[in-house]
Symmetry: D3
Subunit: 223 residues, 6 copies
Amino acid sequence: MPVVVQNIARADPAVIEGLAAAGVATVHEAQGRKGCMASHMRPIWAGAQVAGSAITISAPPGDNWMLHVAIEQLRAGDILVLAPTSPCNNGYFGDLLATSAMARGCRGLVIEAGVRDIRDLTKMGFPVWSKAVSAQGTVKETLGDVNLPIVCAGQVVNPGDIIVADDDGVCVVARDEAATVLAAANKRLAAEEAKRARLAAGELGLDIYGMRGRLAEKGLKYV
Amino acid sequence: MPVVVQNIARADPAVIEGLAAAGVATVHEAQGRKGCMASHMRPIWAGAQVAGSAITISAPPGDNWMLHVAIEQLRAGDILVLAPTSPCNNGYFGDLLATSAMARGCRGLVIEAGVRDIRDLTKMGFPVWSKAVSAQGTVKETLGDVNLPIVCAGQVVNPGDIIVADDDGVCVVARDEAATVLAAANKRLAAEEAKRARLAAGELGLDIYGMRGRLAEKGLKYV
Amino acid sequence: MPVVVQNIARADPAVIEGLAAAGVATVHEAQGRKGCMASHMRPIWAGAQVAGSAITISAPPGDNWMLHVAIEQLRAGDILVLAPTSPCNNGYFGDLLATSAMARGCRGLVIEAGVRDIRDLTKMGFPVWSKAVSAQGTVKETLGDVNLPIVCAGQVVNPGDIIVADDDGVCVVARDEAATVLAAANKRLAAEEAKRARLAAGELGLDIYGMRGRLAEKGLKYV
Amino acid sequence: MPVVVQNIARADPAVIEGLAAAGVATVHEAQGRKGCMASHMRPIWAGAQVAGSAITISAPPGDNWMLHVAIEQLRAGDILVLAPTSPCNNGYFGDLLATSAMARGCRGLVIEAGVRDIRDLTKMGFPVWSKAVSAQGTVKETLGDVNLPIVCAGQVVNPGDIIVADDDGVCVVARDEAATVLAAANKRLAAEEAKRARLAAGELGLDIYGMRGRLAEKGLKYV
Amino acid sequence: MPVVVQNIARADPAVIEGLAAAGVATVHEAQGRKGCMASHMRPIWAGAQVAGSAITISAPPGDNWMLHVAIEQLRAGDILVLAPTSPCNNGYFGDLLATSAMARGCRGLVIEAGVRDIRDLTKMGFPVWSKAVSAQGTVKETLGDVNLPIVCAGQVVNPGDIIVADDDGVCVVARDEAATVLAAANKRLAAEEAKRARLAAGELGLDIYGMRGRLAEKGLKYV
Amino acid sequence: MPVVVQNIARADPAVIEGLAAAGVATVHEAQGRKGCMASHMRPIWAGAQVAGSAITISAPPGDNWMLHVAIEQLRAGDILVLAPTSPCNNGYFGDLLATSAMARGCRGLVIEAGVRDIRDLTKMGFPVWSKAVSAQGTVKETLGDVNLPIVCAGQVVNPGDIIVADDDGVCVVARDEAATVLAAANKRLAAEEAKRARLAAGELGLDIYGMRGRLAEKGLKYV
């Protein structure tokens, strides 16, 4: 029953690049406020902002065997996404796996479990978003799946979906919605630019967004 | 019933500045070991040390409308303090709201919920202490209150109370106790200076504080 | 009943230095995947990598008296390890205690509770691994024990055991196993070096470790 | 500085009885959706539904001395409410203290910490709402306060406020709002009775509350 | 964009009944160890064992409007399944909604949020599996979706999937796998019956399952 | 390296029986306030009160193989105690294993992980104290140890130590201290009996324990 799906569809690299530039918060809003993984998914170092195609991994607790299998499926621009089949903090991934993944063009790892060799990964510039940092080791005894749909930190991830990740966390964009979402994100960014200038000049959001009438209607009292 | 209190009393700016310089741990001790918010309130970037007058916000889960309302109430030197009416991690606040708040002289945000646009806020030097980092968006549908007393991370905050915040977390000082607390804090800092020199020279706290007698009395055995 | 054990055995300083250089993940694997403290033990600043002999402290919740007692027992190269007798986040330790500990050659603190004065400790270069950052103060009313065996963050720590700590967390090595563990760690590091080069060159772990046969045997299907 | 306030005002016993009968959810709604303690406050046995005047206790972590002090302040119909000064799970209260409290007419205990002797308390019919069950013992070394305002599980409790507690948790009603809240609660109960009959007969809330128009206006699509 | 899908496919009632009889643990194993919701989903009263077709609800934090909408979509034998769009403990559901749902043949509620009126729901025999018990009220301001796929407590739930729930928690069975899973579950139950008798007679699992050889091979030593 | 220790020493059955009768809170106090497992260890059904000799199990996350091995080591009056090598909620144990364990005279299970088949275990009267209830299944691939010392829920458990468990949780008594602890527990129970009567008659703890002087000395003010 355990399966590795080898040839998955990926989104247009230019779209992926655009989503990376827009960042998590903008992309999340642009696609109708969906796709954010749970807030316990934190970067191991600050400042990374990436997007890539998801190679999905379902792995048993405390067993990192399928990471080795998944790395063979990586193409340049991909991001590994691992969800354990039950909650687990073990350190599934460290500097050797990162070396291997980087050699194949991998842009990062999203893992709802633990990661280790933090100092090395930071030096290598390999970004990871994880639920925990832990040196606790794993075994290689039980199979899982590569490139089947998974649920990671509360979000469905299909293989080939676009993962956008930065200091705000991780957001998933469905592959077939990527271009539309990018367009909406760019529109949003442009609109924000104008607003930012007005806000910086001291104008109030209450006025820019015309909120005063509706606040009064709802019954807000100033005393 | 939702209310915005417009003119709140604030403490003497010189006192507020003094409390900022003393920092959270010293202020907390100086006022009799009270006022510390829960330890899940963490800074989004390291190194900020501020104090300011609290503009308090009570907001529904997942609704950041009242932040827009509160920003109008800001005066230079204020700090926004938001408590949701039930536990929530959503990202209520990002770079646009920060731009607006900074334009009005706001010194920071304390929020028992989520915040986003971490990278921008860090670049802008706008400090935030929050329970979570999350890009999950909010709506603007339900009213709350501005400048009523709230409970934030286990502490009562009255509008105009002094918020002291640094890498150790957040401490609240009642407005009418601020001057007394500052005096006690400064006394404490002076006393610590002398002790620090003796400790650095290798003298033991057991001797400096004269603890040996009481330890023996309580029954401590050396073997 | 409360006791301070004064003369504890320590491991060979050269072995301790070797373990520090190997780091937490390698040491943990080298001793058969044991000894890792729970992943909630996090460094207050990034980049420290130390090892030292454990001075163990059992302290009541909210009472840091025994830290003063323990500091007298420190010798150069030691690490303080404190476990509260019930879960507690209070800030047991700050810059004054750190000044005193450093004056006696202490290399760091491991505490399953809170710590404060983060900014000062960072400037001083004193490393701490803790469960929380909190300015909440403590009292000095109730005795505990120094240099009896404790359980800290899920691991037994005997006085004189070697504590290895870095950005991945904290690992405990039994004193009488230290030399053996170091030998195994060094062997492991050497082996990893060769593998790292091959992985960096694009070779797959599946091939280097000869995993393909066993994966097929277990029933992994490629589709 | 530690203080025991001896003579506190209490609400009208008939009002308190009415609030007990209304229960937590109704009272919470009737007072404008406020006053609910955090949902980690759970009853140790199911089925109790009580209301009483709060005797408030602020106690250090792991120290139950002030419970003995507070019991002297109890009058028939009171409820003990304890908040530790920092998070703590120790078992502050057991069957002996319950025996003493019951002898003085106490109706229950609300404690944001631990409780023990669960089986005995259940047999005695003494209700407790707590954050934890734990046999971990406490000391009697450090003072706290009785009958000063506290924050317990996210809510301000003033001495003499009315505590309403049942299987849904705990709600606080300000003493001077008690009569008004009771009136609103009773009105609400009456209104619910009529709705319950219509809903039981199969009528839809969508129709009873006239929601269809507003749902359509907001843009809800049926497909 | 918010949508209500009105006519969803449901599984064969006889299959659903069979899955209810098999229970969560057996069904989970029978379908290849998948489908279990996170262990924080707990029943509000012990002893219920049900299965039904999922009516799925995606709702904003603190807003229960879509529950009213979903109830209209219920048919006899259905189970309501609600996931908030961000973590929330509010009490979305109480006795009035339960009255309405029961009037339409609803078999229970699965909600990764809070529920209230526990005592009434228990008396009514309406089973709920939830993340929290909380009286904290909700508003009716923001739309969500009914009968779109959701992620609830770590599992994807499609409308019409079969929800199996008992004291062990909640398991999801894909609608088109339901018959196959039931067959496997029944086979498993039959096999367990025989084993149970042998185990009760004192025979060891080591012998019944023939584990001794493989244990020795893996290197287990008896000393 | 994985090991099963076959012949462990056990305490006197009469002493074990006495400790069961005394219960967790009394035993914990009688041995100097130590030995309590963390408060997340909860009984799956209320009312059990047992003591027995520990058969200890160290098992990998998500792998219950060693439970089968451990059951062979059980003698009448033993209690199984399992700690996973990293945090795990999987359901390691259910009704078949319970049937087998009961057939060998096992008195219960203490497991810092998950358990399933709650309803069956309750009917069988087999008591379990666990960290979670979960139907999530396990594999049988990786070895662990039986009857080596473990750390379970914060406490060291040596094989043959006495486990005392009731509705308050779980306490560990070292085998060679068992008789002394029982004597102290019985003395404590006798002393409590007298105090209970006085407290029930309305006498205050303040007077019975003579606390008034020390409270005044410490500075408690009555206002």
